[in-house]
């Protein structure tokens, strides 16, 4: 890896690490003041446990060897990852991917907010990482799904659809918060939400453009797409709000930005021109309605992980089937419908997402049931009423 590309991958990895705190603030601000520290802790915990699991065994299982479904044990404990060869490129890539591994389970925390036992979460994260994240990651990047030709630039299927559907499975086992949906609680600190949003967008440039694993034209296009899709989605979301509800809101802008970022993630290195604006705009529009589904369907996805990450990721992943354009990238991937590629790519995108959804939903569901039957997954009613911060962490957010 040339020095310029290594610099780009390293700073991108740092940016992705920064996203997990960003996510913590985005979620934590939306939460109530008596549960915010539990939310922050669920997120920070991911960047503590995942790196350890990742270098011990996760990376090896997720990327080792040439299996179709799962990796091997060649790289346990970072074995055989050279330091100086390739100018450190291999090692930087392992770190970069480790940041992705850390944020993926963190995404789920928004759904289970306000009621999940921290001890259950502490077990859930590493188990989920190995049982769900790692195999799907292998299928998409170096396994059967990727080999068939489906595309996922920076983790639409492998990360957002995956975590989003897992969130649904988790809350189905966990059950609703007391009083939901009749009582509700507005965000306790919108400035904290916006701090999180700013960090997320900033970090997402590393997430998407860093996924080119080089400082080149594809990285620049992925960067531009990350810029445009977030803007378009945020803009559409607040316009809908303005005309539907009467006011453009900060939370709407923040939600739209995140929805646009999620949607462009799988497509970032495959589309160009006005495609990011269209993809972002569509994601903003659909997600802004999708977050209301939970009220109709009756699942208590507290902070809309399903409505934003699952739906946004799916929208973006399927739209690749329309907008992918290999000519612009000198790329060895299939073209989408709008560039003369026929339905093939769209079908592959659909298949990849279905496979990820089925695996993620069922394993997550099973894992949650197992935890429920053994150590229990829910805090007591009293803890839920009085707040998780004191009961679970012996801390209070503001004194």
């Amino acid at each position: 890896m040339d020095a310029g590309s290594l610099a780009w991958v390293l700073i991108s990895a740092a940016l992705v690490l920064f996203m997990t705190p960003g996510l913590a603030f985005f979620y934590g601000g939306m939460d109530q003041g008596r549960n915010v520290l539990n939310m922050l802790m669920m997120n920070f915990y991911c960047v503590l446990v995942v790196p350890v699991v990742w270098v011990l065994v996760g990376y090896s299982l997720a990327q080792g060897g040439s299996g179709n479904f799962i990796g091997n044990f060649d790289h346990l404990f970072l074995n055989d990852i050279p330091i100086l060869d390739d100018n450190g490129g291999k090692l930087a890539t392992v770190a970069f991917l480790g940041m992705f591994a850390a944020i993926t389970p963190a995404l789920i925390s928004g759904a289970v907010a306000d009621r999940m036992k921290f001890s259950a979460w502490a077990l859930f994260v590493p188990l989920w990482l190995l049982l769900v994240f790692v195999p799907i990651f292998k299928w998409v990047y170096g396994g059967w799904l990727g080999d068939r030709g489906s595309l996922d630039f920076a983790g639409g299927t492998a990360i957002h659809v995956n975590a989003g559907i897992a969130a649904l499975a988790a809350v189905m086992v966990l059950g609703r918060r007391k009083g939901w949906p009749s009582e509700g609680h507005p965000p306790h600190s919108m400035p904290l939400v916006m701090i999180g949003t700013g960090i997320l967008w900033f970090g997402w440039f590393g997430f998407n453009a860093g996924s080119a694993l080089a400082a080149n034209g594809q990285a620049a296009q992925a960067f531009m797409n990350t810029f445009l899709a977030a803007a378009a989605a945020g803009l559409v979301w607040i316009v809908v709000e303005r005309f539907r509800d009467g006011h453009a809101t900060n939370l709407g802008a923040a939600s739209g930005i995140v929805a646009g970022l999620v949607a462009i993630t799988p497509a970032a290195g495959f589309v160009s021109g006005v495609a990011p604006l269209v993809i972002g705009g569509i994601a903003g529009l659909i997600c802004c309605y999708a977050v209301k589904l939970k009220h109709r369907a009756g699942y208590d996805d507290a902070l809309d992980v399903v409505g934003v990450h699952f739906v946004g990721g799916l929208v973006g992943s399927l739209l690749i089937g329309f907008f992918a354009n290999p000519k612009h990238f000198d790329g060895a991937f299939d073209a989408g419908i709008f560039y003369g590629g026929g339905l093939g790519l769209l079908a592959e995108q659909a298949l990849a997402n279905v496979a990820a959804i089925v695996w993620s939903f069922s394993i997550t569901f099973g894992l949650m049931v197992l935890l429920k039957r053994t150590i229990g997954v829910r805090v007591s009613d009293q803890t839920e009423a009085e707040g998780l911060d004191i009961a679970e962490h012996a801390e209070t957010a503001y004194h």
Partner: protein, 112 residues
């Protein structure tokens, strides 16, 4: 002595303080409260979910005054806090048995 308690609109606190000072009151205690009443609150909208916030931010002003002063003070509050719109608030008066200044131990009107 009387304790006058007034619930007022937050944006009126400077006016009320000025009126009380003009009425010869030299001390008061203010706290942030939330009021429920006719004024009715407002609706907030987060990601399309509406929250009806029935409590409205208000300030509570508490003043201990001499019995003779009481109605002057009440009138001063009522006039200075009025906007004529619903939610202007209430004033009530209760009887204080004794007042002591902590610093000196002075009692009653002396302590004000």
């Amino acid at each position: 002595m009387k304790l006058i308690t007034a619930i007022i609109k937050p944006s009126k606190v400077e006016d009320v303080k000025a009126a009380l000072t003009a009425a010869g009151v030299h001390g008061m205690t203010v706290s942030e409260v939330r009021g429920f009443g006719r004024q009715g609150g407002h609706t907030e909208n987060y990601r399309g979910t509406e929250y009806r916030l029935e409590f409205v931010p208000k300030l509570m002003v508490e003043v201990v005054v001499d019995e003779e002063q009481a109605w002057t003070v009440i009138d001063a509050i009522v006039e200075s806090a009025r906007t004529g719109k619903i939610g202007d608030g209430k004033v009530w008066m209760t009887t204080v048995d004794e007042l002591i200044r902590i610093r000196t131990g002075e009692r009653g009107v002396e302590a004000m």
